[in-house]
Amino acid sequence: MTFFTELGRYLLMIKGMFSKPENTKMYWKEFMHQCSEIGIGSLGIVTIISVFIGAVSALQTAYQLVSPLIPKSTIAQIVRDTVILEFAPTLVCIVLAGVVGSKIASELGNMRVSEQIDALEIMGINTKTYLILPKILAAMLTIPMLVVISMGLGIWGGRLASSLSGIVDINVFDKGLLENFQPYNVFFAIVKGYTFAYLISSIPAYYGYHVEGGSLEIGRASTKAVVVSCVAILFADYIISALLL
Protein backbone atom coordinates (compact mmCIF):
# COMPACT_ATOMS: atom_id res chain seq x y z
CA MET A 1 0.00 0.00 0.00
CA THR A 2 1.39 3.40 -0.95
CA PHE A 3 2.17 6.11 1.56
CA PHE A 4 -0.66 8.32 0.31
CA THR A 5 -3.23 5.51 0.51
CA GLU A 6 -2.25 4.86 4.12
CA LEU A 7 -2.27 8.58 4.91
CA GLY A 8 -5.73 8.86 3.36
CA ARG A 9 -7.07 5.95 5.42
CA TYR A 10 -5.48 7.46 8.53
CA LEU A 11 -7.13 10.84 7.89
CA LEU A 12 -10.50 9.17 7.24
CA MET A 13 -10.14 7.31 10.54
CA ILE A 14 -9.47 10.60 12.35
CA LYS A 15 -12.45 12.23 10.62
CA GLY A 16 -14.65 9.25 11.51
CA MET A 17 -13.83 9.66 15.22
CA PHE A 18 -15.82 12.83 15.53
CA SER A 19 -19.45 11.86 15.92
CA LYS A 20 -22.07 12.26 18.62
CA PRO A 21 -21.54 9.68 21.39
CA GLU A 22 -24.40 7.19 21.80
CA ASN A 23 -24.11 7.45 25.59
CA THR A 24 -21.86 10.14 27.10
CA LYS A 25 -21.58 8.31 30.43
CA MET A 26 -20.13 5.20 28.75
CA TYR A 27 -17.66 7.26 26.74
CA TRP A 28 -16.55 9.11 29.88
CA LYS A 29 -16.05 5.76 31.63
CA GLU A 30 -13.93 4.53 28.72
CA PHE A 31 -11.94 7.79 28.72
CA MET A 32 -11.17 7.47 32.45
CA HIS A 33 -10.23 3.82 31.97
CA GLN A 34 -7.77 4.80 29.25
CA CYS A 35 -6.34 7.62 31.41
CA SER A 36 -5.62 5.03 34.07
CA GLU A 37 -4.18 2.52 31.57
CA ILE A 38 -1.96 5.02 29.76
CA GLY A 39 -1.09 7.45 32.56
CA ILE A 40 -0.89 5.38 35.73
CA GLY A 41 0.21 2.30 33.81
CA SER A 42 3.26 4.09 32.41
CA LEU A 43 4.26 5.92 35.59
CA GLY A 44 6.68 3.21 36.75
CA ILE A 45 8.73 3.03 33.57
CA VAL A 46 8.74 6.84 33.23
CA THR A 47 10.07 7.19 36.79
CA ILE A 48 12.91 4.70 36.24
CA ILE A 49 13.94 6.16 32.87
CA SER A 50 13.79 9.76 34.06
CA VAL A 51 15.90 9.25 37.17
CA PHE A 52 18.56 7.34 35.25
CA ILE A 53 18.76 9.66 32.24
CA GLY A 54 19.18 12.60 34.63
CA ALA A 55 21.84 10.77 36.61
CA VAL A 56 23.76 9.61 33.55
CA SER A 57 23.63 13.02 31.88
CA ALA A 58 25.07 14.60 35.07
CA LEU A 59 27.95 12.13 35.19
CA GLN A 60 28.72 12.38 31.47
CA THR A 61 28.55 16.19 31.46
CA ALA A 62 30.97 16.30 34.40
CA TYR A 63 33.29 13.90 32.53
CA GLN A 64 33.41 16.24 29.53
CA LEU A 65 33.73 19.54 31.45
CA VAL A 66 37.37 19.32 32.39
CA SER A 67 38.28 23.01 32.03
CA PRO A 68 38.86 24.74 35.40
CA LEU A 69 37.47 27.93 33.84
CA ILE A 70 33.95 26.50 33.69
CA PRO A 71 32.17 26.57 37.06
CA LYS A 72 30.75 23.31 38.43
CA SER A 73 27.28 24.83 38.56
CA THR A 74 27.25 24.66 34.75
CA ILE A 75 26.74 20.88 35.07
CA ALA A 76 23.39 21.54 36.76
CA GLN A 77 22.39 23.99 34.00
CA ILE A 78 23.28 21.49 31.26
CA VAL A 79 21.45 18.67 33.02
CA ARG A 80 18.40 20.88 33.55
CA ASP A 81 18.21 22.10 29.96
CA THR A 82 18.92 18.76 28.29
CA VAL A 83 16.35 17.03 30.48
CA ILE A 84 13.70 19.71 29.89
CA LEU A 85 14.36 20.27 26.20
CA GLU A 86 15.04 16.78 24.96
CA PHE A 87 15.24 13.88 27.39
CA ALA A 88 11.92 14.31 29.21
CA PRO A 89 9.71 14.90 26.17
CA THR A 90 11.47 12.98 23.39
CA LEU A 91 13.19 10.04 25.07
CA VAL A 92 10.28 9.35 27.39
CA CYS A 93 7.82 9.53 24.49
CA ILE A 94 9.93 7.15 22.40
CA VAL A 95 9.78 4.67 25.26
CA LEU A 96 6.04 5.32 25.63
CA ALA A 97 5.63 4.66 21.89
CA GLY A 98 6.83 1.14 22.69
CA VAL A 99 4.85 0.69 25.89
CA VAL A 100 1.57 2.47 25.07
CA GLY A 101 1.74 2.18 21.27
CA SER A 102 2.17 -1.58 21.15
CA LYS A 103 -0.60 -1.99 23.72
CA ILE A 104 -3.05 0.13 21.71
CA ALA A 105 -2.18 -1.59 18.41
CA SER A 106 -2.40 -5.12 19.82
CA GLU A 107 -5.59 -4.41 21.79
CA LEU A 108 -7.42 -3.00 18.76
CA GLY A 109 -5.89 -5.63 16.46
CA ASN A 110 -7.12 -8.41 18.69
CA MET A 111 -10.57 -6.83 18.85
CA ARG A 112 -10.63 -6.59 15.05
CA VAL A 113 -9.48 -10.17 14.45
CA SER A 114 -11.85 -11.66 17.03
CA GLU A 115 -14.77 -9.69 15.52
CA GLN A 116 -15.33 -7.66 18.69
CA ILE A 117 -15.19 -4.44 16.64
CA ASP A 118 -17.78 -5.90 14.23
CA ALA A 119 -19.95 -6.81 17.23
CA LEU A 120 -19.84 -3.19 18.42
CA GLU A 121 -20.64 -1.92 14.90
CA ILE A 122 -23.66 -4.25 14.70
CA MET A 123 -24.91 -2.82 18.00
CA GLY A 124 -24.97 0.59 16.30
CA ILE A 125 -21.89 2.01 18.00
CA ASN A 126 -19.37 4.16 16.11
CA THR A 127 -16.27 2.11 16.95
CA LYS A 128 -13.87 4.84 15.90
CA THR A 129 -15.46 7.24 18.37
CA TYR A 130 -15.82 4.68 21.14
CA LEU A 131 -12.51 2.85 20.83
CA ILE A 132 -10.03 5.34 19.34
CA LEU A 133 -11.06 8.83 20.49
CA PRO A 134 -10.87 8.05 24.26
CA LYS A 135 -7.38 6.59 23.76
CA ILE A 136 -6.11 9.68 21.93
CA LEU A 137 -7.71 12.10 24.41
CA ALA A 138 -6.41 10.11 27.38
CA ALA A 139 -2.91 10.06 25.90
CA MET A 140 -3.06 13.81 25.27
CA LEU A 141 -4.13 14.43 28.84
CA THR A 142 -1.74 12.10 30.66
CA ILE A 143 1.43 12.05 28.54
CA PRO A 144 2.21 15.80 28.93
CA MET A 145 1.73 15.22 32.68
CA LEU A 146 4.20 12.35 32.53
CA VAL A 147 6.61 14.62 30.64
CA VAL A 148 6.40 17.22 33.42
CA ILE A 149 6.93 14.52 36.08
CA SER A 150 9.85 13.22 34.03
CA MET A 151 11.45 16.69 34.00
CA GLY A 152 11.37 16.87 37.79
CA LEU A 153 12.59 13.32 38.27
CA GLY A 154 15.35 13.71 35.66
CA ILE A 155 16.75 16.80 37.36
CA TRP A 156 16.44 15.08 40.73
CA GLY A 157 18.31 12.08 39.34
CA GLY A 158 21.11 14.37 38.12
CA ARG A 159 21.29 16.07 41.50
CA LEU A 160 21.38 12.72 43.31
CA ALA A 161 24.12 11.31 41.06
CA SER A 162 26.18 14.49 41.37
CA SER A 163 26.07 14.43 45.14
CA LEU A 164 26.57 10.66 45.50
CA SER A 165 29.58 10.65 43.22
CA GLY A 166 30.97 13.83 44.80
CA ILE A 167 31.24 15.66 41.47
CA VAL A 168 29.26 18.70 42.54
CA ASP A 169 28.15 19.82 45.94
CA ILE A 170 24.35 19.84 46.36
CA ASN A 171 24.30 23.57 47.13
CA VAL A 172 26.33 24.36 44.02
CA PHE A 173 24.04 22.12 41.94
CA ASP A 174 20.92 23.83 43.30
CA LYS A 175 22.46 27.26 42.59
CA GLY A 176 23.22 26.16 39.02
CA LEU A 177 19.64 24.97 38.53
CA LEU A 178 18.34 28.48 39.14
CA GLU A 179 20.88 30.24 36.91
CA ASN A 180 19.64 31.37 33.45
CA PHE A 181 16.45 29.35 33.77
CA GLN A 182 14.05 30.03 30.87
CA PRO A 183 10.41 29.08 31.56
CA TYR A 184 9.88 29.04 27.76
CA ASN A 185 11.80 25.75 27.69
CA VAL A 186 9.10 24.14 29.82
CA PHE A 187 6.44 25.45 27.44
CA PHE A 188 8.45 24.05 24.51
CA ALA A 189 8.67 20.64 26.21
CA ILE A 190 4.92 20.58 26.88
CA VAL A 191 4.18 21.44 23.23
CA LYS A 192 6.35 18.48 22.30
CA GLY A 193 4.53 16.35 24.87
CA TYR A 194 1.12 17.10 23.33
CA THR A 195 2.35 16.48 19.78
CA PHE A 196 4.07 13.22 20.64
CA ALA A 197 1.08 12.05 22.71
CA TYR A 198 -1.13 12.45 19.66
CA LEU A 199 1.33 10.53 17.47
CA ILE A 200 1.88 7.76 20.05
CA SER A 201 -1.86 7.10 20.33
CA SER A 202 -3.24 7.76 16.84
CA ILE A 203 -0.63 5.90 14.75
CA PRO A 204 -0.88 2.60 16.71
CA ALA A 205 -4.67 2.99 16.76
CA TYR A 206 -4.61 3.20 12.96
CA TYR A 207 -2.48 0.08 12.57
CA GLY A 208 -4.45 -1.87 15.17
CA TYR A 209 -7.88 -0.87 13.87
CA HIS A 210 -7.04 -1.91 10.31
CA VAL A 211 -5.47 -5.31 11.04
CA GLU A 212 -6.51 -8.05 8.63
CA GLY A 213 -5.68 -11.68 9.30
CA GLY A 214 -4.70 -13.44 12.52
CA SER A 215 -2.31 -13.30 15.44
CA LEU A 216 0.75 -12.99 13.21
CA GLU A 217 -0.69 -9.85 11.62
CA ILE A 218 -1.46 -8.41 15.07
CA GLY A 219 2.23 -8.80 15.97
CA ARG A 220 3.32 -7.24 12.67
CA ALA A 221 0.89 -4.34 13.09
CA SER A 222 2.15 -3.77 16.63
CA THR A 223 5.79 -3.69 15.52
CA LYS A 224 5.02 -1.43 12.57
CA ALA A 225 3.01 0.89 14.82
CA VAL A 226 5.96 1.31 17.21
CA VAL A 227 8.49 1.85 14.40
CA VAL A 228 6.34 4.40 12.55
CA SER A 229 5.48 6.19 15.82
CA CYS A 230 9.18 6.49 16.73
CA VAL A 231 10.10 7.85 13.30
CA ALA A 232 7.15 10.27 13.46
CA ILE A 233 8.27 11.45 16.90
CA LEU A 234 11.81 12.14 15.67
CA PHE A 235 10.50 13.91 12.59
CA ALA A 236 8.07 16.00 14.65
CA ASP A 237 10.86 16.73 17.15
CA TYR A 238 12.92 18.32 14.40
CA ILE A 239 9.99 20.32 13.00
CA ILE A 240 8.96 21.66 16.43
CA SER A 241 12.55 22.57 17.31
CA ALA A 242 13.00 24.35 13.99
CA LEU A 243 9.75 26.25 14.47
CA LEU A 244 9.83 27.13 18.16
CA LEU A 245 13.50 27.56 19.09
Binding site: N110, S114, E115, Q116, D118, G124
Partner: protein
Amino acid sequence: MIEVKNIKKGFGDKVVINGVSAVMQTGKCNLIIGASGSGKTVLMKCMVGLFEPDSGEILYENQNFTAMEDEDKKEVRKQIGMLFQGSALFDSQTVEKNIMFPLDMFTKDSYSKKLKRVNEVLERVQMKDVNKKFPAELSGGMKKRVGIARAIVLNPKYLFCDEPNSGLDPQTSLVIDKLIKEITTEYNITTIVNTHDMNSVMEIGDNIMYMYKGDKEWEGTREQIIFSKSERLNEFIFASEFLKDAKDMRMLEMSGKIDNNRNMDDLIK
Protein backbone atom coordinates in the same frame (compact mmCIF):
# COMPACT_ATOMS: atom_id res chain seq x y z
CA MET B 1 -38.87 -9.34 6.86
CA ILE B 2 -35.59 -8.69 5.08
CA GLU B 3 -35.42 -8.57 1.32
CA VAL B 4 -32.18 -8.91 -0.58
CA LYS B 5 -32.39 -7.64 -4.17
CA ASN B 6 -29.75 -8.46 -6.75
CA ILE B 7 -26.77 -8.00 -4.41
CA LYS B 8 -23.34 -7.96 -6.01
CA LYS B 9 -20.10 -7.73 -4.10
CA GLY B 10 -16.50 -8.20 -5.13
CA PHE B 11 -13.03 -7.60 -3.74
CA GLY B 12 -10.68 -6.30 -6.40
CA ASP B 13 -11.20 -8.41 -9.52
CA LYS B 14 -12.80 -11.28 -7.62
CA VAL B 15 -16.60 -11.42 -7.65
CA VAL B 16 -17.79 -12.95 -4.37
CA ILE B 17 -21.56 -12.43 -4.67
CA ASN B 18 -23.04 -12.33 -8.12
CA GLY B 19 -26.53 -10.85 -8.06
CA VAL B 20 -28.22 -12.73 -5.21
CA SER B 21 -31.87 -12.07 -4.35
CA ALA B 22 -33.79 -13.59 -1.45
CA VAL B 23 -36.51 -12.96 1.11
CA MET B 24 -35.83 -13.66 4.81
CA GLN B 25 -39.17 -14.37 6.45
CA THR B 26 -40.29 -13.13 9.86
CA GLY B 27 -40.64 -15.70 12.64
CA LYS B 28 -38.66 -18.27 10.70
CA CYS B 29 -35.12 -19.60 10.62
CA ASN B 30 -33.72 -18.57 7.25
CA LEU B 31 -30.61 -20.59 6.47
CA ILE B 32 -27.86 -19.64 4.06
CA ILE B 33 -25.85 -22.75 3.28
CA GLY B 34 -22.90 -23.39 1.04
CA ALA B 35 -19.31 -24.54 0.98
CA SER B 36 -16.50 -22.41 2.38
CA GLY B 37 -15.85 -19.52 -0.01
CA SER B 38 -19.34 -19.61 -1.52
CA GLY B 39 -19.99 -16.04 -0.30
CA LYS B 40 -22.47 -16.68 2.50
CA THR B 41 -20.53 -14.76 5.18
CA VAL B 42 -19.96 -11.84 2.79
CA LEU B 43 -23.69 -11.81 2.01
CA MET B 44 -24.50 -11.76 5.72
CA LYS B 45 -22.00 -8.96 6.32
CA CYS B 46 -23.60 -6.98 3.47
CA MET B 47 -27.00 -7.52 5.07
CA VAL B 48 -25.91 -6.11 8.43
CA GLY B 49 -23.92 -3.29 6.84
CA LEU B 50 -20.41 -4.42 7.70
CA PHE B 51 -19.70 -4.53 3.95
CA GLU B 52 -21.06 -2.11 1.39
CA PRO B 53 -22.50 -4.04 -1.60
CA ASP B 54 -21.28 -2.95 -5.04
CA SER B 55 -24.87 -2.92 -6.30
CA GLY B 56 -28.33 -4.09 -5.28
CA GLU B 57 -30.61 -3.32 -2.36
CA ILE B 58 -31.25 -4.66 1.12
CA LEU B 59 -34.68 -3.83 2.48
CA TYR B 60 -35.61 -4.04 6.16
CA GLU B 61 -39.42 -3.93 6.32
CA ASN B 62 -39.39 -2.27 2.87
CA GLN B 63 -36.89 0.39 3.98
CA ASN B 64 -33.80 0.55 1.78
CA PHE B 65 -30.93 -0.09 4.20
CA THR B 66 -28.20 0.34 1.57
CA ALA B 67 -29.35 3.86 0.70
CA MET B 68 -29.69 5.01 4.32
CA GLU B 69 -27.51 7.64 5.99
CA ASP B 70 -25.13 6.36 8.69
CA GLU B 71 -27.34 7.64 11.51
CA ASP B 72 -30.41 5.86 10.09
CA LYS B 73 -28.38 2.68 9.62
CA LYS B 74 -27.45 2.88 13.30
CA GLU B 75 -31.14 2.91 14.20
CA VAL B 76 -31.75 -0.25 12.16
CA ARG B 77 -28.68 -1.89 13.69
CA LYS B 78 -30.08 -1.33 17.16
CA GLN B 79 -32.79 -3.82 16.14
CA ILE B 80 -30.21 -6.38 15.05
CA GLY B 81 -28.61 -9.02 17.26
CA MET B 82 -25.72 -11.02 15.92
CA LEU B 83 -23.99 -14.18 17.04
CA PHE B 84 -20.49 -14.36 15.59
CA GLN B 85 -18.56 -17.45 14.60
CA GLY B 86 -16.05 -16.90 17.40
CA SER B 87 -18.74 -15.46 19.73
CA ALA B 88 -16.90 -12.06 19.76
CA LEU B 89 -17.30 -11.61 23.52
CA PHE B 90 -15.29 -8.80 25.10
CA ASP B 91 -12.33 -10.62 26.66
CA SER B 92 -11.70 -8.12 29.44
CA GLN B 93 -15.29 -8.12 30.69
CA THR B 94 -17.23 -10.68 32.69
CA VAL B 95 -20.23 -12.51 31.22
CA GLU B 96 -22.54 -10.13 33.10
CA LYS B 97 -20.76 -7.02 31.77
CA ASN B 98 -20.73 -8.47 28.25
CA ILE B 99 -24.48 -8.92 28.24
CA MET B 100 -25.13 -5.67 30.08
CA PHE B 101 -23.05 -3.67 27.59
CA PRO B 102 -25.86 -3.01 25.05
CA LEU B 103 -28.19 -2.10 27.93
CA ASP B 104 -25.60 0.31 29.37
CA MET B 105 -25.10 1.91 25.98
CA PHE B 106 -28.69 2.23 24.81
CA THR B 107 -30.96 2.34 27.86
CA LYS B 108 -31.23 4.56 30.89
CA ASP B 109 -32.49 1.76 33.13
CA SER B 110 -31.29 1.40 36.71
CA TYR B 111 -28.55 -1.13 37.48
CA SER B 112 -31.00 -3.47 39.23
CA LYS B 113 -33.34 -3.45 36.24
CA LYS B 114 -30.46 -4.15 33.86
CA LEU B 115 -29.18 -6.94 36.07
CA LYS B 116 -32.66 -8.46 36.14
CA ARG B 117 -32.75 -8.45 32.34
CA VAL B 118 -29.25 -9.98 32.15
CA ASN B 119 -30.32 -12.80 34.47
CA GLU B 120 -33.49 -13.30 32.43
CA VAL B 121 -31.61 -13.80 29.16
CA LEU B 122 -28.97 -15.94 30.84
CA GLU B 123 -31.72 -18.16 32.18
CA ARG B 124 -33.28 -18.21 28.69
CA VAL B 125 -30.06 -19.63 27.23
CA GLN B 126 -29.82 -22.09 30.13
CA MET B 127 -26.81 -20.54 31.80
CA LYS B 128 -26.62 -20.11 35.54
CA ASP B 129 -23.93 -18.94 37.98
CA VAL B 130 -21.67 -17.63 35.24
CA ASN B 131 -22.24 -13.89 35.79
CA LYS B 132 -18.80 -13.24 37.20
CA LYS B 133 -16.88 -15.53 34.87
CA PHE B 134 -14.67 -14.23 32.07
CA PRO B 135 -15.06 -15.54 28.47
CA ALA B 136 -11.71 -17.35 28.76
CA GLU B 137 -13.21 -19.50 31.53
CA LEU B 138 -16.09 -20.73 29.34
CA SER B 139 -16.32 -23.64 26.92
CA GLY B 140 -17.11 -23.08 23.22
CA GLY B 141 -20.78 -23.95 23.66
CA MET B 142 -21.11 -21.70 26.71
CA LYS B 143 -19.53 -18.81 24.81
CA LYS B 144 -22.06 -19.27 22.01
CA ARG B 145 -24.91 -19.23 24.51
CA VAL B 146 -23.57 -16.06 26.13
CA GLY B 147 -23.24 -14.63 22.58
CA ILE B 148 -26.91 -15.44 21.96
CA ALA B 149 -27.86 -13.90 25.32
CA ARG B 150 -26.03 -10.67 24.40
CA ALA B 151 -27.64 -10.68 20.95
CA ILE B 152 -31.18 -10.91 22.32
CA VAL B 153 -30.84 -8.71 25.41
CA LEU B 154 -32.31 -5.67 23.63
CA ASN B 155 -35.19 -7.71 22.14
CA PRO B 156 -34.00 -7.46 18.53
CA LYS B 157 -36.27 -7.85 15.51
CA TYR B 158 -33.54 -9.57 13.52
CA LEU B 159 -31.07 -12.22 14.66
CA PHE B 160 -28.04 -13.08 12.55
CA CYS B 161 -25.99 -16.17 13.38
CA ASP B 162 -22.71 -16.73 11.56
CA GLU B 163 -21.85 -20.44 11.70
CA PRO B 164 -23.25 -20.95 15.20
CA ASN B 165 -22.08 -24.56 15.35
CA SER B 166 -18.51 -24.20 14.19
CA GLY B 167 -16.09 -25.89 16.57
CA LEU B 168 -18.84 -27.51 18.65
CA ASP B 169 -19.54 -31.19 19.26
CA PRO B 170 -22.75 -32.61 17.68
CA GLN B 171 -24.66 -32.65 20.98
CA THR B 172 -23.84 -29.03 21.86
CA SER B 173 -24.63 -28.06 18.25
CA LEU B 174 -28.12 -29.49 18.68
CA VAL B 175 -28.60 -27.49 21.89
CA ILE B 176 -27.56 -24.27 20.11
CA ASP B 177 -29.81 -25.06 17.11
CA LYS B 178 -32.76 -25.75 19.39
CA LEU B 179 -32.14 -22.52 21.25
CA ILE B 180 -32.00 -20.47 18.04
CA LYS B 181 -35.21 -22.08 16.81
CA GLU B 182 -37.03 -21.53 20.12
CA ILE B 183 -35.95 -17.89 20.36
CA THR B 184 -37.02 -17.23 16.77
CA THR B 185 -40.53 -18.56 17.42
CA GLU B 186 -40.85 -17.12 20.93
CA TYR B 187 -39.88 -13.55 20.01
CA ASN B 188 -41.21 -13.79 16.41
CA ILE B 189 -37.92 -12.50 15.00
CA THR B 190 -36.37 -12.83 11.58
CA THR B 191 -33.44 -15.19 12.02
CA ILE B 192 -30.74 -15.65 9.43
CA VAL B 193 -28.25 -18.47 10.00
CA ASN B 194 -25.10 -19.09 8.01
CA THR B 195 -24.13 -22.71 8.24
CA HIS B 196 -22.70 -25.74 6.56
CA ASP B 197 -23.82 -28.05 9.33
CA MET B 198 -26.31 -30.55 7.91
CA ASN B 199 -27.92 -31.23 11.27
CA SER B 200 -28.87 -27.55 11.45
CA VAL B 201 -30.31 -27.67 7.95
CA MET B 202 -32.59 -30.57 8.82
CA GLU B 203 -33.42 -29.40 12.36
CA ILE B 204 -34.11 -25.67 12.06
CA GLY B 205 -34.16 -24.74 8.35
CA ASP B 206 -37.58 -23.25 7.63
CA ASN B 207 -36.34 -21.47 4.55
CA ILE B 208 -33.05 -22.59 3.03
CA MET B 209 -30.91 -20.88 0.42
CA TYR B 210 -27.97 -22.74 -1.08
CA MET B 211 -25.12 -20.65 -2.45
CA TYR B 212 -22.55 -21.88 -4.93
CA LYS B 213 -19.57 -19.71 -5.91
CA GLY B 214 -21.42 -16.45 -5.24
CA ASP B 215 -24.70 -17.44 -6.93
CA LYS B 216 -27.98 -18.59 -5.44
CA GLU B 217 -28.16 -22.19 -6.64
CA TRP B 218 -31.30 -23.40 -4.86
CA GLU B 219 -33.98 -22.22 -2.44
CA GLY B 220 -36.65 -24.15 -0.57
CA THR B 221 -37.70 -25.76 2.70
CA ARG B 222 -36.08 -28.64 4.59
CA GLU B 223 -38.75 -30.99 3.26
CA GLN B 224 -38.04 -29.93 -0.32
CA ILE B 225 -34.29 -30.35 0.10
CA ILE B 226 -34.72 -34.13 0.32
CA PHE B 227 -36.32 -34.25 -3.12
CA SER B 228 -34.06 -31.64 -4.69
CA LYS B 229 -32.80 -32.45 -8.17
CA SER B 230 -29.92 -29.97 -7.92
CA GLU B 231 -26.76 -32.03 -8.36
CA ARG B 232 -24.53 -29.45 -6.71
CA LEU B 233 -26.84 -29.22 -3.70
CA ASN B 234 -27.04 -33.00 -3.35
CA GLU B 235 -23.27 -33.29 -3.64
CA PHE B 236 -22.85 -30.66 -0.97
CA ILE B 237 -25.45 -31.85 1.51
CA PHE B 238 -25.34 -35.59 1.05
CA ALA B 239 -21.59 -35.79 0.63
CA SER B 240 -20.96 -39.16 2.31
CA GLU B 241 -22.43 -42.59 1.44
CA PHE B 242 -24.02 -42.68 4.88
CA LEU B 243 -25.85 -39.41 4.25
CA LYS B 244 -26.89 -40.56 0.76
CA ASP B 245 -28.43 -43.70 2.31
CA ALA B 246 -30.10 -41.59 4.98
CA LYS B 247 -31.56 -39.35 2.26
CA ASP B 248 -32.94 -42.37 0.35
CA MET B 249 -34.53 -43.72 3.55
CA ARG B 250 -36.04 -40.33 4.33
CA MET B 251 -37.43 -40.05 0.79
CA LEU B 252 -39.06 -43.45 1.15
CA GLU B 253 -40.45 -42.47 4.55
CA MET B 254 -41.84 -39.21 3.25
CA SER B 255 -43.44 -40.88 0.24
CA GLY B 256 -45.06 -43.41 2.61
CA LYS B 257 -43.19 -46.45 1.32
CA ILE B 258 -41.64 -47.09 4.74
CA ASP B 259 -43.37 -46.87 8.10
CA ASN B 260 -41.39 -44.22 9.95
CA ASN B 261 -42.56 -45.65 13.28
CA ARG B 262 -41.05 -49.01 12.49
CA ASN B 263 -39.46 -50.98 15.26
CA MET B 264 -35.70 -51.30 14.93
CA ASP B 265 -35.83 -54.82 16.40
CA ASP B 266 -38.10 -55.88 13.52
CA LEU B 267 -35.68 -54.42 11.00
CA ILE B 268 -32.75 -56.30 12.57
CA LYS B 269 -34.70 -59.58 12.45
